[in-house]
């Protein structure tokens, strides 16, 4: 910071005001942009760390089919399914018959969720997943899920919605139970996004 020792006086305002203001306005604009940059940064951060219970999208990695050898224990994890509706969502939305099941890690599993539209209008919906404990989210691999796209039901129609997943062998030892929960939202603006 320079010391403008000679300059200040009433009649000749220092020329540097314009420069100072320009720099400060640049900071203002940059910080306004930074506020919006926080949105993708936040998503990226949650994706990398798996915090917030956000599960990743479709699992694209290798699916190991190796059978555990002799003496290797078949590790079993309990998986629970819960469903809920967001406010004002009229659908009936149920988890699979077996609300919980014991899953062998590494082996693919297929379950079906049930949904019915009891109203007399066409509704588009989106299911949002969340896994608890959240540090298990990164090890819950979905190869097929109804949550990857929107669901559409005519008035009175019902449907079974499939989910295929497997649990990663690297799941931390202290996790014995994983809870997968879906919240069903009505998508108001069909055209949007």
């Amino acid at each position: 910071m320079s010391e403008n020792n000679e300059q200040p006086g009433n009649s000749t305002p220092p020329r540097s005001h314009a420069g100072t203001v320009r720099k400060l306005l640049f900071v203002v604009v940059a910080m306004f942009g930074f506020g919006f940059a926080l949105v993708p940064l936040y998503d990226l951060f949650c994706d990398i760390t798996g915090i917030n219970g956000k599960t990743n999208g479709r699992y694209e990695g290798e699916i190991s089919t190796a059978v555990p050898g002799e003496g290797e224990s078949r590790r079993v994890v309990r998986v629970q399914f819960t469903t809920s509706n967001n406010a004002n969502m009229p659908w009936i939305f149920n988890p699979p018959e077996n609300k919980q099941m014991d899953v062998v890690v590494g082996e693919p599993v297929q379950v079906d969720f049930f949904a019915r539209n009891p109203t007399d209008r066409f509704i588009v919906a989106q299911a949002i997943p969340s896994v608890a404990p959240s540090k298990g989210a990164d090890y819950f691999h979905k190869t097929e899920c109804f949550c990857f796209q929107r669901q559409e039901l005519e008035a009175g129609a019902d449907t079974l919605m499939g989910l295929r997943f497997f649990i990663d062998r690297d799941l931390p030892e202290d996790i014995k139970t994983l809870t997968l929960s879906y919240t069903m939202f009505e998508v108001q603006d069909h055209a949007g996004l």
Binding site: T20, V21, M31, F36, C46, T49, K135
Partner: protein, 528 residues
Amino acid sequence: MSAVIDSHHHDDHHHGPAKGFTRWLYTTNHKDIGSMYLWFSFTMFLLGGCMALVIRAELFEPGLQIVAPNFFNQMTTMHGLIMVFGAVMPAFVGLANWLIPMMVGAPDMALPRMNNWSFWILPFAFSLMVSTLFMEGGGPNFGWTFYAPLSTTYAPPSVTFFIFAVHMMGISSIMGAINVIATILNMRAPGMTMMKMPMFVWSWLITAFLLIAVMPVLAGVVTMMLTDIHFGTSFFKPEGGGDPVLFQHVFWFFGHPEVYIMILPAFGIVSQIIPTFSRKPLFGYASMVYATASIAVLSFLVWAHHMFTVGMPLAGELFFMYATMLIAVPTGVKVFNWVSTMFKGSLTFETPMLFSVAFVILFTIGGFSGLMLAMAPADFQYHDTYFVVAHFHYVLVPGAIFSIFAAAYYWLPKWTGYMYDETLGKLHFWLSFIGVNLTFFPMHFVGLAGMPRRIPDYALQFADFNMVASIGAFLFGTTQLLFLFIVLKCVKGGKRATASVWEGAEGLEWTIPSPAPYHTFATPPKVN
């Protein structure tokens, strides 16, 4: 230091203020604008205070008796917004306008016309915001933190006006901050080096940088709300891929520096006043500057301690917990320096000093409850209880607002040319001191016992402490009318103030006559 006094009598271009309303509408004079800011702030303080009294009247005893729950929520929301953006922040900007040019030996603020504009936006912004109370569906009822989806999906229709009002306040604050920085960096008198600047100027320089860094983020977050509500975006809507927790992150990225914006100028004020009435220079000036700057830097790294309960990973809780506790170090340095300044000083306790000493003690209490809240495991118990309400009112009322009272009494003789009534000033102090503690201390107890904040009704076991708090609130509230009377009396007349006003006062503003002439330091003074 050579005083350059009143050289404008023989200069045709300098004349006194214009007459009538246009004087105030068109003024570019930093003293006029400073006064307008201070009066505006006091008006908002009374309005926000009335809303607080509605809240305390409803909470006087359990059950719903005076207002409906939705209106109660509007009161808590508007009380918070008005006090933060309408009372505390404009009061500090008003003090900055009055004092910074006089303290650094400048003739005016760097950008006087923008200064006029930044003030005159405010009455419009607040008229817009207060008018929402009379709209269909009522005003904002989602708390001053306006968390999504309460402020988006479930908000009353008037939320759009609230958003525009916040935009306008933000523009006003940013322009004010740019003005302060330009004045301090470019317009100091010869010899006034950075490390000779009064602490008030330093604390405002740092505050202005905080404002410039975070007010645009606030503008960004309300813009996201606006597009979520009206233009189909999904920043905070999970069904479209957004996340309501994101709102809290962006809001508190603004919100935590914001709380330092409301306290750093207060640190500056008491750092001016305590040396005067201790008749000793400020202890550890350089460490004060560095402590203030490090508090400002740390304020950007602790925002998530407001949201320990959203489900953060352990590493996050630990980081934000330790980073928050680290802030206690520079703050402790400041408190140590104030106490050391008083140590072995020739103390006298005029009203500004009383408010400043009370500031040091009561702000420290607020700081300690802040440390308790900073502990992530304990915060799960305290979160969203009256303990939080007690904490932030201790740092804002006997913190920020006491410092504003102290500043008003300290510089009032310089502004008006008359001494205020010392007896009444002391009465104002003691009634405020008792009222504040009666109001907010019991809130610690009900909070620890589990009473949630923002509720119009509560369980019976909290009844006694709430009654005490309500009595204290009415005492504190009515006492402020006494302050209004004291200020008006001082404006009208009284004992003539000398140029230096206080025996131990140091600084350029005390070298000019009282009342300060309309134009000061047209020729810069020489600082040794």
